[in-house]
């Protein structure tokens, strides 16, 4: 499957580095998840992280948004050092993410889930909400408008009032994407957004991811296993294996990298 990306001029040309990972190392007890990883992510680009299973890709994402704390190394966001920040602070800085195993709020509807994603923009306290004071009502309506735009964008109008627990897997992933972009993030971390999808669902998802990048200018960092997808939609790729970086460059460069080929074919190295 092919997606036309570079055929038109970008609305947001790729800029300087927004995320800089420098010699990041992290271990769980005796298991070294990441060893001296260094790479950067440029503003407005689509950066893929790939690698065989267990390579440390999810751990890398978790470090970037503060869920894990690295033992060594530096993490920079827009020039500012943010190593060891909390996930909450990362959210405030504009880093949003989705999870491999769908972390939606199963007890809530699609609409409520995505509205929850707007929480950083809603400042009314509980008393204002309880008494329906003007600020609370105004915020509710304004954010509802923004969320409806996202719902329209992701073509999920027909299920907006459905509890997410009842939705099929593919739609749940789409809702999770919606919730992540509801925060209008600068950087979007996607952990295997297309896992478990069939070809049509993948095409839709690719379209949405690219539209988010194109329309809102959001920098995308995604973990993905489907090579076709990675080659088609990413600007640059980082390859991890056993917690180490073994490749970094454009899709074509990485595809030709012998280390990468060996890693995937399981050749001892």
């Amino acid at each position: 499957m092919t997606v036309q990306l570079h055929a038109h001029a970008r609305a947001f040309p790729i800029g300087g580095p927004i995320i800089e990972v420098q010699d990041i190392s992290m271990a769980f007890g005796g298991v070294k998840a990441l060893t001296k990883i260094s790479f950067d992510v440029r503003k407005h680009e689509v950066r893929a992280i790939i690698g065989p299973n267990g390579a440390g890709k999810s751990s890398m994402l978790n470090v970037i948004n503060g869920v894990y704390r690295p033992q060594e190394g530096t993490l920079r966001f827009a020039g500012e050092v943010i190593t060891g920040i909390t996930p909450r602070r990362a959210a405030h800085l504009g880093i949003s993410r989705t999870f491999q195993n769908i972390a939606l709020f199963k007890g809530m509807t699609v609409l409520d889930n995505i509205m929850a994603g707007r929480n950083l923009r809603m400042h009314a306290n509980f008393l204002e909400v309880a008494f329906r004071l003007p600020r609370a009502l105004r915020e509710e309506t304004e954010n509802r408008e923004a969320v409806e735009e996202i719902i329209e964008f992701l073509e999920i109008e027909h299920i907006r009032k459905t509890p997410v627990g009842r939705l099929p897997y593919g739609l749940q992933k789409r809702v999770e994407l919606g919730r992540a972009i509801a925060a209008e993030p600068k950087v979007l971390l996607l952990d295997e957004p297309m896992a478990g999808m069939n070809i049509e669902e993948k095409q839709d998802m690719c379209r949405f991811v690219l539209d988010v990048n194109d329309h809102y200018g959001t920098t995308i960092v995604l973990i993905e296993h489907d090579m076709g997808v990675v080659m088609d939609i990413s600007d640059r790729v980082v390859v991890l294996d056993y917690g180490k970086k073994i490749g970094d460059g454009t899709p074509d460069e990485v595809r030709a990298n012998q280390n990468v080929i060996d890693a995937y074919l399981g050749v001892a190295h």
């Binding site: 999810s58 978790n62 869920v67 999870f99 972390a103």
Partner: protein
């Protein structure tokens, strides 16, 4: 010197009462280890077991007959619980199962009351509730024979169960089931039979605890609340550790008694009602998995 003597007495008294808590908590641990269910109704089961035993004896059955009948009854109860309460709820959230066992508590209490009535009963094990003469004379310590007997029984029970869990094939199967039901099924472990076995064993443990406790303070409804005290024991010991339960029981029993005697008077007494729980909270804040429990890792 007299002060130390007194302290020793209080301490030992606390430790022994802790043994009792541990016995009740043991039933919890067994079921939790094997099925991941926290059986809130364990205390009610202890009460029901003791009551039934005494009831059968009152109906004329001698000791050696009443005992196996009650054991059989408890095993049946366990099977019934597994079949009618747990199996329909098998994949639900753990809180749902907990609430179901709270409901179960009420049912068991009600049945006990319905069948055997509400009077307090005495349970006679043939052991006098008097200080052991040897200890009283030689060390000046007044410790009840029943308490000592209970401690010995508890030690034997814990040792046996620990060995069963760690050394035998059945024990291994139980641990596999506790870890992952689906995986255990897929390697051919007869899940239902294992659960039935665990609930039966737990019923027997409840009976032992009930008999010992009943011998000490009579078989009465308040026994059900003793079960609530088992919760701090479980938290401090770790929900999945058999030896942990004993250690934690000793800690809770001793701490509770010592606090009551030494801190109690300055605040009017009655500290026992809440002290173990506060102790448990402190433990949770410092060491959430308990002394011997498995560390809980949450992966994203």
């Amino acid at each position: 010197m007299a002060g130390f003597q007194f302290f020793l007495e209080v301490l030992v008294g606390g430790l022994l009462s802790g043994v009792m808590y541990a016995l009740v908590a043991l039933g919890f641990v067994l079921i939790y280890k094997a099925s991941g269910v926290f059986n809130f109704a364990q205390g009610a089961m202890v009460f029901f077991a003791a009551l039934s035993f005494v009831g059968f004896m009152e109906l004329g059955a001698p000791f050696w007959l009443a005992l196996p009948i009650t054991i059989g009854l408890m095993a049946l109860l366990g099977l019934g619980i597994e079949r009618f309460v747990l199996r329909p709820l098998v994949n639900q959230h753990e809180i749902t199962l907990l609430m179901a066992t709270i409901g179960l508590t009420f049912v068991i209490e009600g049945v006990a009351q319905l069948v055997w009535g509400v009077e307090v009963r005495r349970l006679d094990l043939g052991i006098k509730d008097q200080p052991l003469p040897w200890l009283a004379d030689n060390a000046g310590l007044f410790i009840s024979q029943i308490d000592i007997f209970a401690a010995v029984v508890a030690a034997i029970l814990v040792a046996t169960l620990s060995l069963v869990f760690s050394r035998t094939k059945v024990g291994r199967a139980l641990r596999a089931v506790a870890d992952d039901h689906a995986a255990a099924l897929s390697i051919g472990i007869p899940l239902k039979r294992i659960w039935a076995l665990v609930w039966a064993i737990s019923g027997v443990v409840a009976l032992v605890a009930g008999m010992l406790w009943g011998a000490r303070s009579g078989v009465q409804f308040a026994l059900v609340f003793v079960a609530l005290k088992a919760l701090p024991v479980l938290i401090i010991g770790g929900f999945t550790s058999v030896p942990g339960v004993i250690v934690a029981g000793l800690i809770v029993g001793a701490a509770e008694k010592l606090a009551e005697v030494y801190i109690g008077p300055s605040v009017g007494g009655g500290i026992e009602s809440w002290f173990p729980y506060v102790l448990a909270i402190l433990f949770l804040l410092v060491r959430p998995e308990g002394l011997f429990g498995e560390k809980i890792i949450r992966r994203v």
